[in-house]
């Protein structure tokens, strides 16, 4: 491939690519993100390839493996172009029928999405409410692009923004445009991206570095991975534009060790961009040079903190350092460094192409643009959701997410990862943006949104996050290392029935100290899970402490399983499924849980048929004694 030396050559290549492609030719696209991969999309892909061969349709039907579409609940997702007919939960066995239907221009009804409310079948991808209720500006191209083929990105107008920036705009003009868009960092803090760029640009010293933070460590958040795996060129293009504005010629992409596909795809993307002259020396004949390197993380949550991440890029232990000198002045190898989140960088080409005014018109006051959230937990439609900032939680959870499964009641939504907090029901109509979330005691974080229902214990949730943070604290500063451990100890005592009066107050005191005195944001925000659950669910803490009762029946040490003799029909289902053999009984003999053998795994409760509902959870009160042997005999009356 000869290098592209000018924007005209880029456009020429785009036209050539489009001319080569027949827009009416059928194409089976398969989502190949990590979610669908886990469902077995590899096998589905192989089945399609084989079927096309078998039916002699090679050359007539294309297959494209795209990035993540976001509707992970229904993987493997298959979309048939040109009409964009969407099939969900596709299995390898379905391949023959689907290929046949493509050949005959028909639709396989049984694989279509059924709207759970209306019961109607929905044929086209974008008409499914999950998609129809979103605004997918950054994430939209994912479903049209094979991330390992740069031509797909170019065909959609890729690298036009870079061409425009390098040949029609000065670095100052690019910077101004980004500043006027009011784009805020998508990694958590929501700091103004333009101002961050400017600080690095103005800092004395050479060379300057630009960095993509793809160390997406928040559990339950995976939008960065979906972008990095599914559309790596959009991130690279944004990074190159940023580098031009800042005056940097060297970029790093820091990817988490747990994301091997992202490492692979971004590596391929860099090589292809270099081949086309979109990275490297004298890009588009503008005289601007820029090269990018990938750095794999090695499994440390704290390394996502900006100064820690930069230390890790230097090949050292990724621990944070005090930031009285900002990393924008002294970052990697003491050079001025600008670090932004994956999603932040991916917004940049859109701003350059469409203008700051366009971007500023999306979203709410001081919170412009869209944001991708990963909607997970106790929600019907698990997946990635992109909406304008300022959208209400209710819209996201109910209109897009389809509500809570199993007829359960919504309890809280947890945002912001381990540094964030839990937002209860009364705030469901609050607009979700950086400022509003902070007001509610939580934060944006990278965009994880974990829905929890009535079966979730708030003390256990706080304990879960503190356990995570205690494990991930690097131990460099004392308040974080020791404070988190002490708070975790108290929370564990509360969950396990060893709590005492005054524990809540002690937790609050510790939380204040850890918050105020820790070195980096990991410790500084570590008390948030405790503080927000205390703010909204203090009664639940009190029930654990005063009555040794877990109202959600989650804390094992405070919960017992008991079979109600009046309801047990001696069906033997729980008895057979109990993994520890703790259930005694037999045919016609009412079952009894041997409390000494029970490990409280809850299998019996889950498995007892709804028509009996004989297994009862008990907390905060003694378990009734088992019935006597005579009382356990069921006498069935013949009808």
């Amino acid at each position: 491939m000869p290098k592209l030396n000018s924007p005209a050559e880029l456009e020429e290549l785009r036209q050539e690519t489009l001319a080569k492609r027949d827009p009416n030719k059928p194409c089976i696209t398969l989502c190949s993100g990590t979610g669908c991969h886990a469902y077995g999309s590899e096998k589905v892909n192989a089945a399609f390839a084989e079927e096309i061969k078998k039916q002699g349709l090679e050359g007539e039907i294309d297959i494209r493996r795209t990035g993540c579409h976001g509707f992970c609940e229904r993987g493997t997702l298959v979309v048939i172009y040109p009409k964009e007919i969407c099939y969900t939960n596709v299995q390898p066995e379905d391949a023959a029928e689907v290929v046949q239907s493509v050949k005959e221009s028909k639709v396989v009804d049984r694989l279509l999405y059924t709207d759970p409310v209306t019961g109607e079948k929905i044929t086209y991808e974008l008409e499914i409410p999950f998609y129809a209720n979103q605004q997918r500006t950054i994430f939209g191209p994912n479903r049209r692009i094979d991330p390992q083929n740069i031509e797909d990105y170019l065909a959609l107008g890729g690298y036009r923004a870079l061409a425009k920036a390098l040949t029609q705009m000065t670095p100052e003009a690019v910077l101004e445009e980004v500043k006027r868009s009011n784009l805020r960092g998508r990694g958590g803090g929501g700091f103004s991206t333009g101002r961050k760029w400017e600080a690095t640009r103005d800092a004395p010293g050479e060379p300057k570095y630009v960095i993509v933070n793809c160390d997406e460590g928040d559990p339950g958040a995976y939008m960065n991975r979906a972008l990095m795996e599914g559309n790596p060129h959009s991130v690279l293009e944004g990074l190159a534009i940023g580098a031009y504005a800042i005056g940097s010629h060297e970029g790093f992409i820091y990817v988490r060790a747990e994301y091997p596909l992202a490492v692979e795809n971004v590596g391929i993307a860099i090589r292809q961009a270099e081949e086309y002259g979109l990275l490297g020396e004298n890009i588009f004949g503008s005289g601007f040079d820029f090269k990018v390197k990938v750095h794999r993380g090695a499994g440390a949550f704290v390394s996502g903190e900006s100064s820690a991440l930069m230390t890790a890029i230097e090949g050292k232990v990724g621990e944070p350092r005090p930031k009285y000198i900002h990393t924008s002045e002294k970052g990697i190898w003491d050079g001025p460094s600008c670090l932004n989140n994956v999603e932040t960088w991916a917004n940049v080409p859109l701003i350059i192409n469409n203008g700051a005014a366009w971007f500023d018109s999306i979203g709410s006051e001081r919170n412009t643009g869209t944001k991708i959230f990963s909607l997970v937990g106790k929600v019907n439609n698990t997946g990635l959701v992109e909406v304008p900032l300022g959208t209400s939680l209710r819209h996201i959870i109910y209109n897009i997410g389809g509500g809570i499964p199993g007829g359960k009641k919504f309890k809280v939504v947890q945002t912001g990862g381990p540094s964030g907090g839990c937002i209860p029901e009364q705030f469901l109509d609050s607009p979700i943006d950086f400022d509003e979330l902070t007001k509610l005691g939580s934060m944006m974080g990278s965009g994880g949104m974990i829905v929890m229902d009535e079966d979730t214990c708030m003390v256990d949730t706080a304990r879960y996050f503190l356990d995570f943070l205690s494990d991930e604290s690097c131990g460099k500063c004392t308040p974080c290392r020791e404070g988190i451990r002490q708070m975790l100890g108290i929370l564990t005592d509360i969950c396990e029935g060893r709590s005492k009066e005054g524990d809540i107050e002690l937790l609050e005191e510790l939380a204040e100290v850890v918050k105020d005195t820790s070195l980096c944001a990991l410790g500084g925000t570590a008390p948030n899970p405790i503080l927000t659950t205390l703010r909204y669910f203090r009664d639940e803490y009190k029930a654990h402490i005063e009555q040794k009762k877990c109202p959600a029946f989650v804390c094992k040490e405070l919960t017992s399983y008991y079979i109600d003799p009046a309801k047990c029909e001696a069906c033997m289902i729980c008895l057979r499924n109990c993994p520890t053999g703790a259930i005694d009984g037999g045919k016609g003999k009412i079952h009894v849980v041997d409390q000494s053998k029970c490990t409280k795994c809850g299998t019996c409760f889950d498995i007892c048929p709804d028509r009996f509902n004989a297994v009862v959870r008990i907390s905060g009160e003694p378990v009734p004694p088992p019935p006597s042997e005579e009382e356990r005999v069921i006498v069935r009356v013949e009808k």
Partner: protein
């Protein structure tokens, strides 16, 4: 440690000589090649790249992706990300611990299984998730853990 393995370590080091800030990437490569990082490998890196062993050890012991003890034939990863946690991931972990008789991060004495916790694999729709040797098992219930583990022999 056998010579073959040291040769592999040497080969990996060869690919990095003369570059800056490579220690983490180098150790990751050794980890993925040998499935753990033996003491001899640390010493070899130190000798060849003139970096003190203490510095290499500090990195190898800091990061979760690096193991300084040999790992089992099958690696079990129980996801305890928030989404899996609210769907009962801990009950799965507890059951696996009971069955194998080991704690998180440990390997069974017969070197068959290593039990590890992972804080989110990002396939939350399938939660609770258990991954064995890269193979995903979704919507796992405590009663299913035994059967799943038995399928790896």
């Amino acid at each position: 440690m056998v010579t073959v393995e040291l040769d592999k370590v040497d080969e990996i080091i060869d690919g990095y000589v003369g570059e800056e800030g490579i220690l983490i990437q180098l150790l990751l490569d050794i980890q993925s090649e040998l499935n753990w990082i033996p003491k001899e490998a640390l010493e070899r890196i130190s000798e060849r790249l003139k970096i003190p062993v203490s510095q290499i050890y500090r990195i190898a012991s800091f990061y979760k992706a690096m193991s300084l003890t040999p790992r089992g034939k099958h690696i079990i990863n129980v996801c305890l990300g928030t989404a899996c946690h609210v769907r009962g991931g801990q009950r799965i972990m507890d059951r696996a611990k009971e069955l194998l008789g080991i704690k998180e991060g440990e390997t069974t004495p017969d070197m068959k299984f290593t039990l590890e916790r992972v804080n989110c694999l990002g396939c939350c729709a399938l939660g609770p998730v258990v991954v064995v040797d890269g193979e995903y098992h979704g919507k796992v219930a405590p009663a299913k853990v035994e059967k799943t583990l038995k399928s790896y022999d």
